[in-house]
């Protein structure tokens, strides 16, 4: 039990440390540009972050159990292509979205199956899926984009509800729902148990494989959904979409206080992690500084956040 208290308190501290970092960043950004602290800019930030934000929620689930999912960007692209092609062929929007989500969940299921049943390390299993799903995305149209999607479909990614981007509302809602699941459901508690100490989790009768496989299904499903939102926002399906999304999502989850060895993390922290990364790009764009500095600064911030975590927690637990 003592270890549990330490873990809990360290998680709280980790989460505070990122809030602290967010606060510093917002203050600095507001000093750098008068346009930063405006409603319009925050709404933009929300919209810009929502796609990678939705991907990162799924990634959080996977990372909590000590896994990793490199296939999110490719599944996102494939989903965008599928939904685009279905809509282009006159299918009803809701049905097209449903079919696409099923495909995403299925690919996640294959990831889960290969990692748990075939015992292939998650890094390699999802790497294989990353390559294969990208190939499928390119194959759907022979590498060509699909444009001219119905304007009704664009509401999802580009529409507004009470002046707030719908994609941002979806992201916030998904974060709240999944935060609730992680905190209060049996499944959520099992995730932390499996990630923290698989041996103990197994002995207490948890079906570890089932729990782990489920996280990959969730990740595949949410990546597919993010792909739908992106296609809807850009009004085009592109087979090259989501390139590098996996690394951004992993960085956001870790910034949010998760450990890659599993057992810690949460979607609220991830939410802030995603925002943090978006704000860095946003502020540099506002003051018109070059991309090179953005990249350097992004690296510095990630390291700083992790060092801060270590420092606050007082050495790593594992």
């Amino acid at each position: 039990m003592g270890a549990d208290i330490i873990r809990k308190s360290s998680m709280i501290l980790r989460r505070y440390s990122i809030l602290f970092l967010l606060l510093i960043l917002v203050i600095v950004a507001s000093m750098l540009s008068p346009r930063f602290f405006t409603v319009g800019n925050f709404l933009n930030l929300l919209q810009q972050s929502s796609v990678i934000g939705i991907v990162s929620i799924g990634m959080t689930f996977v990372i909590i159990t000590g896994g990793i999912d490199l296939s999110v960007g490719s599944i996102l692209a494939l989903a965008g292509m599928i939904v685009g092609i279905l809509l282009k062929n006159g299918m009803a929007i809701s049905l097209a979205i449903f079919i696409t989500l099923v495909v995403g969940a299925l690919l996640g299921g294959i990831n889960g199956f290969i990692t748990t049943k075939a015992r292939v390390p998650a890094f390699l299993a999802t790497l294989a899926m990353m390559v294969a799903a990208r190939g499928m995305a390119l194959l759907t149209t022979d590498g060509q984009p699909v444009f001219g999607l119905p304007s009704k479909f664009n509401v999802l990614g580009a529409g507004f509800l009470w002046g707030i981007p719908i994609s941002g509302i979806i992201w916030i809602l998904l974060t709240l729902i999944t935060a609730f699941i992680l905190k209060y459901s049996v499944f959520g508690r099992r995730l932390y148990a499996v990630g923290g100490n698989p041996e103990a989790a197994y002995l207490s009768g948890i079906n570890i494989n089932k729990v782990i496989a489920t996280t990959y299904i969730i990740s595949g499903l949410l990546s597919a959904f993010a792909g739908i939102v992106l296609a809807s926002w850009l009004t085009v399906s592109q087979p090259t979409a989501g390139n590098g999304a996996e690394l951004n999502a992993i960085a956001a989850v870790v910034l949010g206080g998760a450990s890659l060895s599993g057992g810690t993390g949460g979607v609220m922290g991830t939410f802030i992690g995603v925002l943090l990364m978006s704000i860095i790009t946003n502020i540099f764009n506002l003051i018109g500084l070059s991309s090179y500095y953005q990249s350097i600064f992004m690296g510095v911030i990630i390291v700083l956040a992790l060092v801060l975590n270590e420092f606050v927690v007082g050495g790593s637990e594992k």
């Binding site: 946003n282 764009n285 003051i287 991309s291």
Partner: protein
């Protein structure tokens, strides 16, 4: 039982991987026209090898397909390989092509200097090399490509015209930039500035690098719009990014901002037709692929070519958009 399950699932995984591999092999067979050269025909078929920089870009896929069709039409055979933006893979690929016994090599280099081993191997095997779309530093038979600087100039001229004409042009231009350190980006940037920098009334705001992708351009343009609410024209180094800007303008219900892109992407032409977009500059991959194959066959026949063969370009705006509109294509055709 457990042991059996584990074994069975391993077997299943192996079968899955195998099927994937076979599937890939199958689709390869369908897409590449590499039927083994028939020994029955009296004349041995000419084999053209094409090492393409990447097949993850619509432009290069179209270029590839056009080259394939042209080779078929001319009775030659084309074998292609995809370097996946990886210079080492490209050098190995070319080596494999030479082993397969190609007669001439079409090369779109990942990097102008990095393909030295490939060029050396081709020279050793007495195989002439024609570069396509991107040049090499070392001398080859000829380079079939386009003048991206000229594309930038055409876009610049149109931009000046849209903002009031030479000498009186006034306004703020946002320039959405391609990829850092990229030669195409530099050419499209420099050509554009050659024209607009002469106009004292024009101010240009340059975006961060958006890697020619729409999602990055949308984000960057949203931020720039926050910092500079008053802009008059958007120029992007490709249509995909410019279409992202159109999206942002529509979303913010901003009208009256002119948009100019490069590439002749059909989606941009549709937007021109709808009055949401002002101009794009042609960059037709189909013609480039056709010309590359014709040149390669010409080189084999001993014809002499200049160092650079220009596949040409042109401007599309609302006056002439109807001549190019064909939504079954991804890029506008340059030769009507």
């Amino acid at each position: 039982m457990k042991k059996f399950m584990k074994k069975a699932s391993l077997l299943l995984a192996a079968v899955f991987v195998f099927m994937l591999a076979v599937g890939c092999g199958q689709s390869q067979k369908q897409t590449s026209s590499s039927s083994s050269p028939s020994s029955t025909s009296e004349q041995k078929k000419v084999i053209i090898g094409f090492s393409q920089v990447t097949l993850q870009s619509p432009f290069y896929v179209e270029l590839m397909k056009a080259a394939e069709n042209e080779a078929k039409a001319k009775g030659a055979q084309l074998i292609y390989v995809d370097a996946q933006e990886n210079i080492q893979k490209q050098n190995n690929d070319v080596q494999d092509l030479i082993t397969k016994g190609i007669n001439v090599l079409l090369l779109n280099p990942v990097n102008p200097d990095g393909v030295a081993p490939a060029l050396a191997a081709a020279e050793k095997a007495n195989i002439p090399v024609v570069t396509v779309d991107r040049p090499t530093t070392a001398k080859v038979a000829t380079f079939v490509g386009r003048d991206n600087k000229e594309m930038g100039r055409l876009a610049g001229k149109k931009a000046v015209e849209l903002l009031g004409g030479a000498g009186q042009a006034k306004g703020v231009i946002v320039e959405i930039q391609g990829a850092a350190g990229d030669k195409v980006m530099m050419a499209r940037r420099d050509g554009f500035h050659e024209i607009v920098d002469k106009e004292p009334g024009i101010k240009v705001i340059q975006s961060p690098y958006c890697d020619y992708t729409r999602s990055k351009a949308v984000k960057a343009f949203q931020d720039i719009l926050q910092a500079n609410p008053k802009i008059d024209l958007v120029y992007a180094h490709n249509d995909d990014m410019a279409l992202g800007a159109v999206q942002v303008l529509e979303q913010n219900k901003i009208t009256g901002v002119k948009v100019v892109g490069v590439d002749g992407l059909m989606e941009a032409l549709v937007a021109i037709k709808a009055g949401k977009y002002d101009a794009t500059v042609l960059n037709d991959p189909q013609y480039l692929g056709k010309l590359a194959v014709d040149t390669a066959l010409g080189v084999l026949n001993g014809e002499k070519y200049p160092e650079f063969i220009d596949a040409g370009t042109g401007l599309v705006d609302k006056q002439n958009v109807d001549q190019y509109l064909n939504t079954s294509l991804t890029f506008a055709p340059s030769k009507k």
